[in-house]
Symmetry: C2
Subunit: 235 residues, 2 copies
Amino acid sequence: MPAEKEPRAPKSEQTRALILETALRLFQERGYDKTTMRAIAKEAGVSVGNAYYYFAGKEHLIQGFYDRIGADHRSAVREVLDRETDLEARLAGVLLAWLDVAAPYHEFAAQFFKNAADPDSPLSPFSSESEHAREASIAIHREVLAGSRAKVPAELADALPELMWLAQMGLTMYWVFDRSPGGERSRRLAVRGARLTARGVSLARFRVLRPLVHEVHELFTDFLPGMARTVAARA
Amino acid sequence: MPAEKEPRAPKSEQTRALILETALRLFQERGYDKTTMRAIAKEAGVSVGNAYYYFAGKEHLIQGFYDRIGADHRSAVREVLDRETDLEARLAGVLLAWLDVAAPYHEFAAQFFKNAADPDSPLSPFSSESEHAREASIAIHREVLAGSRAKVPAELADALPELMWLAQMGLTMYWVFDRSPGGERSRRLAVRGARLTARGVSLARFRVLRPLVHEVHELFTDFLPGMARTVAARA
């Protein structure tokens, strides 16, 4: 896969970025379904062959977008994760940073939603195609837990970060439709969701609850196609 | 509201049903956005004024559809609710009956999804416009609990049926995208979800959990516009 070649020369990195920017702008202006690779290449001033060298198709551009926004998120959370040890504050910081990083793409997200909402689509955050971006995002939640003072039972160490990431996807869906100024409602939901999660995690000391957490986690990995494959590959 | 007049003469009931059938067929064939009231009236062989007499607009047709499918669901669950006293069996029966009743509208639901997914839209199951259909559906879940042998603490009696209904909406969203033959994956999810819910309810005997259930419920009613208004009106 040419797009995965490394290390990249700065020039080709620039071309790749240019194609991605151009695609996102056209998706926003014309809609994802109506934008062709040919149109993206033309608008970016590269040959069609060159565009396909960097991205094997439109889906790959979306994966490139997911990877990009994920990298931006990782940079944005660094400060709060290095500073805070309180689980609620760490998670709130991570979710608010996510909303900050996503903000410029709000309009695109609204029109793109119907493509990504289908869990069987390669564009879904739950698909196996999105695994790279998803795993990177789940790793942030693993760090949220690991660096906090909260005591997490070892048997929930795999399930909790994935459930927290699922909650982040729920927040994202809410945000897609949020028309409040500055996404203020989504920000309040992030803060409230962080508080609820922290309280839920502190209840994990009650052993009677652990099978239930496992069952919720199993349910969601079983029924989301990409997640099921990821879990199967891990086993 | 003429559509709410009662008792209806059989003739006008027939006309109303004919307009609703016609609208659903056209929505399915041409898409919801592209179908006009004028086209619906023409296809049903009634005057435009007559169509507007029964339904003040396209949104009202969708509310009529929600009411209809809700009434079908109420009939379909009668048998299982009269027979079963086990919470898991009652809930599984209600969710499977929901999938049965919804089955003929699978194609429509897939194309209609983007209209209903926006919680601020009058077409959303969470909107205040959908309150009538929503309350009827929540009442079924209230009966699921009330007629079961499960002990439900009085303080959760309001929250649990609304959370169970929310889970039904989650199942519906999964089903919209489910392409397995006969919606077999959705049916398995319904059965598994019923089991998980029954286990969760049985944990409600642990007092330490009740504030968490309340907080989850409060979070979801606060952030879904129609639900928030319904709860405010109740207080």
